[in-house]
Amino acid sequence: MEKSTSNEYVRGTLKTIVLNLLSDCDRMYGYEITQQVTERTAGEINLTFGALYPVLHKLEQEGLLVTESEAVDGRMRKYYSLTTQGTETARTKTSDLERFMEAMKLLLSPPGEATPSLVPKGN
């Protein structure tokens, strides 16, 4: 139950997560990305391969990612890295998500506490 709700939120931000991760590292392959996410969030968010690979392919189609294949241990491994356009998109998407999370914080916190944080922003 808990896992499915987390997945629900992950689905909307998956692109941003992947782009953000790739902007930190030079290149990554699919499994590595899932491992990284699990590691960084201390197991809070687990990417399933069923959600990850379609998104990766979509980003590749959009021209944000480039791939290179390498034979590792007798099987093909596909590495993903950002294009210049992808780097830009990663930046904007990350900042967008941050703003969204700020707004969510304001929305979810009780009204009394929300007002002071809003006032300095307004000024």
């Binding site: 392959y29 699919g30 499994y31 899932t34 491992q35 391969f49 069923g50 959600a51 690979y53 379609p54 998104v55 392919h57 979509k58 189609q61 959009e62 294949s69 590792v72 241990d73 007798g74 099987r75 093909m76 491994r77 596909k78």
Partner: protein, 341 residues
């Protein structure tokens, strides 16, 4: 670090192949699952358990879900052509034609419009690019200022008024019209002989000069085309001087002499003056034998001429003269002798 054997990899690959994954996903997923398995093996789990857990996690439903998800995400960018040609041979050519159609039309339009505009602008461009060569100019005309002196206005001579020709004296005479009695206008009597003596006939009475210079109308132009038409006029229209069969007094010359003797009276004046001689009376015997246009050519006067005309007009009808069997008018001259006894 533990690794999967090639046999296990092949087994995994077969498993994925049976699930009907797309080719794009297959190698990646194989790698992913292999990594997953190795990770778990490394964690110290027995191989059988790892395989079992993987099988549970990667059941056909999950794979199908992945396939559909993948397809849907990518299909957002697909055009109608991609859908139409999804399971067809794209290399055949129709796909390329369809895909590039929009671009081709756009290019064709731009080129077409360009050529069209060029066609109109070409003379203009040519004129601009080509500087006129000095040699091309055959000659140059220097414009000089011309002094224009005002022209002297010559007075225009007043038009010579031509004297209008004197109006000829005319008497109104109209062609007759046949109409019912009650419609006949009374005030339009035909001109009398006296009126016409010194005047011409015309449309109205004009009291002009009474000169007798008749203007002969110009002869009508000869018949147009078709050469000369020979008109055969009836013989009776002509008045002959001599006919094949001369007109004759009814009863012959003897009867004629008797007639004259009986009717001719010697005028008194002539008798008193002792005048005698011959009066030549000319008359025409018409086709029906009637005596017409009797007049004296040569007379002796003293009432003898009038007497001769009277007698001639009194004559009964003659036998008309004939020309080739057809009665003709014949002019006849008859001497009538007045002789005192």
């Amino acid at each position: 670090m533990k690794r999967l054997t090639d046999f296990r990899l092949a087994e995994l690959n077969r498993y994925l192949e049976t699930s009907g994954l797309s080719d794009a996903l297959m190698p990646e997923l194989l790698d992913h699952l292999a990594c997953e398995a190795e990770e778990r093996l490394w964690a110290g789990k027995p191989l059988e358990e790892v395989i079992e857990s993987l099988r549970k996690e990667v059941d056909p439903d999950v794979l199908l879900d992945l396939s559909l998800n993948h397809k849907h995400l990518l299909a957002m960018n697909e055009s109608l052509n991609d859908i139409v040609f999804e399971n067809r041979n794209k290399l055949y050519g129709a796909y390329a034609l369809r895909r590039d159609y929009g671009g081709n039309v756009q290019r064709a339009t731009i080129i077409g419009v360009g050529i069209f505009l060029l066609m109109f602008l070409l003379p203009e461009l040519y004129a601009r690019l080509k500087t006129t060569d000095e040699k091309d100019i055959a000659f140059m005309v220097e414009a000089k200022t011309i002094k224009i002196t005002p022209e002297k206005i010559t007075p225009i001579a007043p038009p010579v008024v031509e004297p209008t020709p004197p109006t000829a004296k005319t008497v109104r005479s109209r062609p007759y019209e046949v109409m019912p009695d009650e419609q006949v206008p009374i005030e339009m009597p035909p001109p009398t002989v006296e009126m016409l003596e010194n005047a011409q006939t015309g449309q109205a009475n004009v009291d002009g000069e009474s000169f007798m210079e008749f203007v002969v109308p110009p002869a009508e132009a000869a018949g147009t085309g078709k050469g000369d038409v020979i008109e055969v006029k009836p013989e009776e229209e002509k008045t002959l001087l001599f006919a094949e069969q001369q007109p004759q007094f009814f009863g012959g010359s003897q009867a004629f002499a008797n007639f004259l003797q009986k009717n001719l009276k010697y005028p008194r004046a002539a008798a008193q003056a002792g005048i005698q001689g011959k009066v030549f009376v000319e008359f025409t015997v018409s086709t029906d034998g009637k005596i017409e246009k009797a007049k004296t050519i040569k007379g002796i006067g003293f009432g003898c001429d009038e007497e001769a005309i009277r007698v001639v007009n009194m004559m009964p009808d003659w036998l008309p003269g004939k020309q080739s069997g057809v009665p003709v008018r014949v002019r006849f001259t008859l001497p009538i002798a007045f002789q005192l006894e």
